[in-house]
Symmetry: D5
Subunit: 96 residues, 10 copies
C-alpha cells in the first residue's frame, strides 16, 4: 500500500555541529536500509529546499508510522502524509 | 529531469454529462500515451480526492508546460509544479 | 485499518430541489449500509456546519477511495483524509 | 456530549530529557484514567505526526476545558476543539 | 452552556429580490424569538461586514445545531462555532 | 461603543515560574478592575485554549488601545480587535 | 475617530454593462459627498488592483457601518476594517 | 523604476469561445506594444499554470496602474504587485 | 509617489530592557525627522496591536527601501509594502 | 533553462555580529561570481524586505539546487522556486 510523504527538515541553528552530523549519518543509513527493503520506494530532493518527496510501500498505517517516527531527524521534521492508490489511467502494473 | 506535479480536478456541475465524458476519454488516452513514451513516469490517485500526484521526466520546463497545458482537462484543473532532483541518500540509479 | 475523514457538503443553490432530495436519500441509504457492514465505524455531525467527521475501517487505501468516490454527494463534497493507527496510550482493544 | 479534539505536541528541543520523560509518563497515566472513566472515548495516533485525534464525552464545555487544561503536556500542545452531535444518518445508538 | 458563533452571510447576487426579502423577514423573526427565549443571548453586527458575532446559551451541542441549521439563511451562511466557559477572572455570575 | 477582542496567550516556556505567577496575578486584578468599571463587559474562556473572547465598552479606539496595551500579559499575547455595533435584529437595549 | 478600511471590488462578469455603469456612477457620487463632509478622509487606489485603502473619520462604529453598508457597490465588495488611533510618534495634530 | 508583477488568468468556462479569442488577441498585441516601448521589460510563463511573472519599468505607480488596468484580460486576472529596486550585490547596471 | 506600509513589531522577550529602550528612542527620533521632512506622511497606531499603518511619499522604490531598512527596529519588524496612486474618485489634490 | 526564485532571509538576532558579517561577505562574493558566469541572471531587492526575487539560467534542476544549497546564507533563508519558460507573447529572444 502506497503513501506519499513530504518531509521538511528544520535543524535549530544552535544545535552543535557534531551532534547534527551524527544524526544526519544515522538518517542516511536508516533511509538506505529501508530503500533496500523496498519499503521506501522513492525519495527525491525538492529543488532549493531542505525537503523531500517520498513514496512508501508498507502493509498498513501502523507500519508507516513506525518507520516515520523512527527517523533520526523525526523531531526536527515537519511531515505530511497522503494515502495513495492505483490511478485508473495508470499503465504501470507495480504502481499500486 | 524530474518534476512533481499535483493536479486537482474541478468540473463545473453544470457541464453537460456527454461533454464531460468526452473530455475524460481524451484525458485518459492522452495520459496513457505519455506514460508509454516514458515522459509521465508515475501517476497515483490521492485517496478520497479527485486529484493525483504525478512525476514527469522531461527535457526542460518548456516541454513540461507543453504537456500540462495540452491536458484535455487543463482548464478545469488546479496544477502545482515542483522541480525534483536526485536525493543524496537515494539508492535508485534511475530516480534522477 | 482506520482512517479519519472530514466531509464538507456544498450543494449549489441552483440545483433543483427534487434532484437534491433524491441524492440525499441515496446518500443516507449508502451510508447506513456501510455502517452496518462495519466499514463506516463512526459518523458525527459537526455543530453548526453541513459537515461530518467520520472514521472508516477498511482493508486498504483503495477500498477507502472506492467507498468515498461512490458517495452520491461526492461531487458536492470537499473531503480530507487522515490515516490513523492505535495510539500507544489507548486502552481500547478495538481502536486500532 | 461529544467533542472532537485534535492535539499537536511540540516539545522544545532544549527541554532536558528526564523532564520530558517525566511529563510523558504523567500524560499517559492521566489519559488512561480518563479513558477508563469513559470521558475520553477515543484516541488515535495520526500517522507520521506527533499528534492525535480524540473524542471526549463530557457533561459540558467547562468539564472539557478542565480535562484539557489539566493535561501534563498542555503547555506544549496546540489544541483544536469541535463540538459534535449525533448524525441523522448514524445507526449507532451510543454515538450521540 | 455558552457558545460563540460567527455568521457570515453570502446571498448569491442572482437570487430574486423578493425571495431574498422573504428569507430575511423570516430570519429576523426567527432570531428575535430565540432572543426572547434566552437561548440567543447576544447578537452584534460586525462593522463593515454582512456578518455577526453571537453568543448562544443552550443545553447541549445538539440544541445548538438544531437552532443554527434552522436559520432561514443557513444555506447562505458560513458559520464558525467555538465552545465557551466561565473565565476564571470573570466577575459576572451569569456569564457561565 | 463595543469591541470584540480575542486574546491568545503564549508564555515562553523558559520564563521563570515566579515571574509568570506575578504577571498573572497582576493580569487578574487589572481585568477585574476593568470589569467592575463596566469597560470590560464580557470575558469568556475558549474551551481547550489559553485564550478568551471579550467584549469591551469604551468611548473610542484610543481608550481601547490604552486598556489593551496596559495588560500585564500584553507582550505575550496575540490580540485581534473587531468593532461591533447594534444588530438590527437585536432585542437587547443595552447591547449597542 | 479613525478607521482604516480596505475595499476589494468583485463585479460578477455576467452583470449587464449598463447596470454596472449605473452603480459605479452612484458609487462615485456617494464617495465624493462623504469626502466633502470630512468623514471619508482619504481614498487611495492600490496599484494593479480593483481595490482601495481608505481612512474614515466618524463618531463611532455605528456611523462607520452605516456609511459602508450604504455603498452602492457594497454587495460586490469584500471589506476589512481596522480601528486606528494617534501614534505616539506622530507629529500631526489632526491625525488622531 | 521596476515592479515585479504576477498575473493569474481565470477565464470563466461559460465565456463564449469567440469572445475569449478576441480578448486574447488584443491582450497579445497590447503586451507586445508595451514590450517594444521598454515598459514591459520581461514576461515569463510559469510552468503548468495559466500565469506569468513580469517585470515593468515605469516612471511611477500611476503609470503602472494605468498599464495593468488597461489589460484586455484585466477583469479575469488576479494581479499581485511588488516594488523592486537595485540589489546591493547586483552587477548589472541596467537592473535598477 | 505614495506607498502604504504596515509594520508589525516583534521584540524578542529576552532582549535586555535598556537595549530595547535605546532602540525605541532612536526609532522615535528617526520617524519624527522623516515626518517633518514630509516623506513619512501619516502614521497611525493599530488598536490593540504593536503595529502601525503608515503612508510614505518618496521619489521612488529605492528611497522607500532606504528609509525602511534604516529603521532602528527594522530587524524586529515584519513589513508589508503596497504601492498607491490617486483614486479616480478622490477630491483631495494632494493625495496623489 | 530559467527559474524564478524568491529568497527571504531570517538571521537569528542572537547570531554574533562578526559571524553574520563574515557570512554576508561570502554571500555577496558567491552571488557576484554566479552573476558573472551568467547563471544568476537577475537579482532584485524587494522594497521594505530583507528578500530578493532572482532569475537563474541553469542546465537542469540539479544545478539549480547545487547553487542554492551552496549559498552561505542557505540555512537562514526561506526559498521558493518556480520553473519558467518563454511566454508566447514575449518579444525578447533571450528570455527563454
Amino acid at each position: 500500500m502506497l503513501f506519499h510523504v513530504r518531509m521538511d527538515v528544520r535543524i535549530p541553528h544552535d544545535l552543535p555541529a557534531e551532534q547534527a552530523a551524527e544524526i544526519l549519518a544515522r538518517e542516511k543509513a536508516y533511509s538506505q536500509q529501508l530503500q533496500q527493503s523496498g519499503k521506501w520506494r522513492h525519495i527525491w530532493r525538492i529543488a532549493g529546499q531542505y525537503a523531500n518527496y517520498s513514496v512508501f510501500d508498507v502493509k498498513d498505517n501502523a507500519e508507516l508510522h513506525e518507520i516515520l517516527s523512527g527517523l533520526p531527524l523525526f523531531k526536527f521534521m515537519q511531515i505530511e502524509v497522503t494515502p495513495l492508490l492505483r490511478h485508473p489511467s495508470s499503465i504501470r502494473e507495480d504502481d499500486s
